[in-house]
């Protein structure tokens, strides 16, 4: 091993690892399946339908399922939590029933939206909602309680001058986070996994690289598909891999 690494420093131009990478042939059908998987799991019904036709692949899920999932995602992203919950119950009533934290998170987001709406005006709808829907649960769980208290604090401060930890509550990222969680929860029920296979592959690659480096395996100093902030010019490195 030591010998190998010393030889690698001697020939930095063409690393043995890169050569081996180049030798690996990824069958096109696998790549296509990965793409379809990504489109399906992330909720792009039209693209998935077209792609599966083009690549001559069997659709992973029927279009209506993907559409329903996408609609929920969109509802959450636009702040219409009530219809998101309704649609979610329509798809599978057990999702919220069996996942109280997720339910709580959605309801809290709904509370945030209510507070946002009443900004400066009548706070009664928000109060009533918090009292009836969130407070009963908060009493049984310290984390719920903390989250609720934090959210209620939004009522007392002007939204343009919030402390950072409160600011993140009204940031669109919260909607995005919740939407992702909901999408994952639905996927877990429908396909027994949370996310697109490509995401798992990326994670596995990161893990593999980290453990290889930890064991001081012979690797190039930098690997494409930037996983480090300083390599940001590489972040699009996976683009050509897919299109080839």
């Amino acid at each position: 091993m030591r010998q190998a690494s010393s030889s690698s420093t001697a020939t930095p131009a063409k690393h043995g690892f890169e050569k081996r990478v180049a030798d690996v042939q990824s069958p096109k059908s696998d790549i296509n399946a990965l793409i379809l998987d990504y489109l399906t799991m992330e909720g792009y019904p039209n693209a998935a339908a077209k792609f599966s036709k083009e690549a001559n692949l069997q659709p992973q899920q029927c279009e209506s399922t993907i559409v329903a999932r996408k609609r929920i995602k969109t509802s959450i992203l636009t702040g219409d939590i009530e219809s998101a919950i309704r649609a979610l119950n329509e798809i599978d009533p057990e999702i919220l029933e069996k996942d109280p934290p997720l339910h709580f998170e959605l309801l809290r987001l709904q509370l945030v939206e209510l507070i946002r709406k009443c900004n400066g005006g009548d706070i009664n709808p928000a109060l009533e909602f918090a009292t009836n829907k969130l407070a009963p649960r908060a009493a049984t769980n310290s984390e719920f309680l903390k989250a609720l208290e934090k959210t209620m604090a939004l009522l007392f401060f002007p939204h343009d001058a919030l402390a950072p930890e409160l600011k993140e509550l009204i940031h669109p990222d919260l909607r995005q986070d919740t939407a992702t969680k909901v999408n994952e929860a639905i996927l877990l029920r429908q396909a027994s996994r949370r996310e697109a296979a490509i995401r798992e592959l990326v994670k596995m690659r990161a893990w593999a690289e980290a453990s290889a480096r930890a064991k001081k395996k012979d690797l190039p100093d930098k690997l494409e598909l930037g996983l480090y902030a300083e390599d940001s010019e590489y972040t699009d490195g996976h683009e050509p891999m897919i299109t080839t």
Binding site: S64, T65, N89, P100, H103, P136, A139, N141, S192
Partner: protein, 1013 residues
Amino acid sequence: MARIQSPPILSQIRVARSYTEQNAGLLALKDEIIGHVQRKECWVEKGILETLVANLHAVRSRSPPSFDGDGPASPAGSTRPLSDHELVELQSLQLINSFACGGPSFLPPLHAAGAVKAILSHISPAENPSQVVLTALRALANIADATRLAPPGSDDTTALSEALFKPHHVSSLYRILASGSTALVVQEQKCLVSRLISLLCRGVQQQNMLASHGILDALATILASFVVQRGEVVPGAEIMGEADGLINLIPEPAPLGADLSLTLEAISTIIADSPYRSCMLICSPAVVAVFPKLGFTPPAKETRVVWHALETSGLCNFRARTPGAMDYRLPLVPINQPRSISAHYTQFPPLGFSLSNDNLASLSVRSSSGKFMGWDTSRFDTTSVDAADEESESPLVPWLIHLIRSTDGLTRVNAASVLASLFKAGFTFPEREVAISHLVVPLLCQMLKDHDKEIPPSARNSVLLDHDTVLDWAILERTPTVLARLVADSDLLSQAAYECGAMKTVHKLLKDSYEPMPNHLEPRQWSPSPERTRGGEEGLPTCRMGPPGRIPLYAHRIKMRESSLKLAAGLISLKEEYRKNIAEQETVPYIMESLSAHPRKPRSAKEKARADKSAEDADGPNENSPYGVNPSSVILAACHVVRVLGRSVSNLRTTLEDHGVATPIFHLLRHPEAEIQVAACAAACNLVLTCSPMRERLLELGILCVLCEHARSQNPGMRLNAMWALKALVEGADHDLKKQALEELSPGWLIQLIITDTEDDALHSRMSLGADDETDQDMDTDALDDDDSYESHLANLDHIRAKSVRLQRAEVQITKLRETELNPVRKARNDDMAIQEQGLNFIRNLISSPSVPGEMVDYVFGALGQDRLFEILASKLHSKATRPYGRRNNLSDSRIVFPHAQVIEAVIYVLVNMAASIPKHRQLVIAQTKLLKLLSSHIDSNTTTVRLALCHLINNLGESEGDNDGVMSGQRAMELRKLGILAQLEELERRDASIDVRERAKSAVWKLKASAS
């Protein structure tokens, strides 16, 4: 809140003019209650449950006849839109399910409304769309889950399982499991069915029913589909399958959504510890198809060389069998400790080959060429299948071991559980015991350590658990039980577990399970309207909420008590050393508390002695004691541990005595549940021995009366254990106690116990009652009349079976085991024999009294009648025809009853003790010519102990001490010579296989000759 709960929804649902209107109402209600416990409570109190159940029934009666909901034609369950009335059904079920998710307090109103029956009417896939079936199954599973957390008293799933496992519903379950669809909905249905089986199937009757209704075969097929999916079908299966048609039974790979762990758990629940059902699994067509018994030569030369090297050096040993492909997936386990190998190894020749004729050919190839690759023309040796007789092992066994090694979590535990069944039932090669001790037991022990984590603070007071905790707990709850089944009665495996620290683990798990819990009840949610109180007495039962349930941690703790006690009992079942060790670990206080339904703080012996002086029962039973309430399962497990602990004399004298085990066991003898009484009786057997200091205390408490009472029980198990304990009690007792025992039991009843075949008679009268009508044929065969799916499945199989020798052979084996295991006549007879044996032993112990010989013999003669006693003894020695008239054909085998060896032995020992008494009694025995003649016919018995006992008897008869006994002993010797017994003895002296018998016979012959001269 009142604003939202507007009555319009309710009336919209109740008096809707159209399905559409009703559906709109149900939809609104769904959004209203899902995930909101408080609002569910409000709606229950408004009487919604009755309406929902009525919906299910009403729709049922209006619904058009069936269509196939889950055929391959309609995958994913969503292609065909539901009709409006089906939507009403679906939504009503979803709502009921939502209430069931609310927890145990919703169970009483759900049951009162008859929800279970309504749900069950929707699980048939032939009559309902797949979504509806799915929701119905979910609701059942949630009700079963909630029941587990219900307060003591209502946490019993018996009612639910009895409702579900009716022939009609079981055939629905079969259809679901056997469906060929790969749709996710169907896979989830299959998972739920497996879960329901694991949660609810209890008792031999239900297990047999599920096995005979094809459920086991269907599950085995799913298991086989995982073998295919993992690419682990035995090489050559296709070739074999093409030859006999089994190739069509090799299933498709397991589809997405199928669950291996749940499948294994359901299989293990059904087969439990029954050889018959284990055999059904092994011989299930799909399993036979993917696991043919084929020899295999691995392509890698290195592998062969290693195996060969180990084999020739004697470190591993495959004796008569050719290793199959699956064997090569396991590491070789050297057998290097022949001393630790348990007894049944001895029937195999020590190391080296001993081949049956069938295999001689392959041996000659191997030995003549001097190479291991005798058959490399084809990798698999199809000829060896002919040699694959009943004794050979299915590749399922090595596959399971491989699976255990290559998976983790619950899959591993459940695979080990199935393996334990096969191992216990004797379907594994003997050398697998070593493999299991090296490859499986350490893994299981390690799992117990790895998953035993700090309880997360959130779990201490909440019904909410994170996924990891749920998994850890499930593994902790199941693993000890599996391990206990593996190690019980195996020296090698219990040693392996012990060396892996299982004893320490038991102590820790048991100790943790008694950590005080200030709160077991599920926390109440805060309510904005404080005046609302829960579950008042007013209102209809369907509208009244039940008491709150327990938190999951509580159920986990109780389950841990049960499973760690089981592991404790398994570990110490054989070795005295481990029994001592468990006492040293200070585990005993926890075992003692487990004997009580209302445990208190576990205390060491010293603390206990101090505390007992102050106040015995200061605090009465308390539902909310921090130690919870022990259900019967825990008490039973604890009784079993006490019984095994009591096998050690030193434990009897120290640990058990110090912890005062006598009192709780005595109280359990009077427990309302028969099962616990039986277990307590078994535990008492050891406690009443003369070497036990607890004997006096138990006698003071009045154990004699209780045991005599139990000896009259209807329950054969109870009679047996009670007689066993009585026998132990009178052994070496003083004469007063012996007389008292006989009086208390009453001589008449004792004779009754010994002479009548109570169980056999009872069975006969039960059967002849039902003999006239045809229904008594066989419960399960005619119950399936309405179900064509299983029938057609069977017919299909028959077709293949006609072609396949493998399946025919399997069928023969199953039938044989079925006969041994399920024949009620056989069971009744065995029960009778066991009780009679103990009755005779009781007499033996009564009359044996080395200190004052003779007195007790006379007393027993007086009580039972001298001639009567000899008559009874004689009657036990000859085979007899039972009920020669009016026999039913299918019971023909019960016509002639041969006496069991144990009973013969017991009879002989009664006589041995008589003959050991004063000369007068010796004379009495020798005068029983008829009896002696009968005995002489047993002198060539197959059972060594019988021959030994006979030699013992003759030794005693040849005894010549006492006044003018010399003359009489000469007469006795003459008599024995006349009966031909002397000649028979000389034969034994010369020929017998057992050295004990030869020695004993030698001394008897010498005595007889000496007296005669």
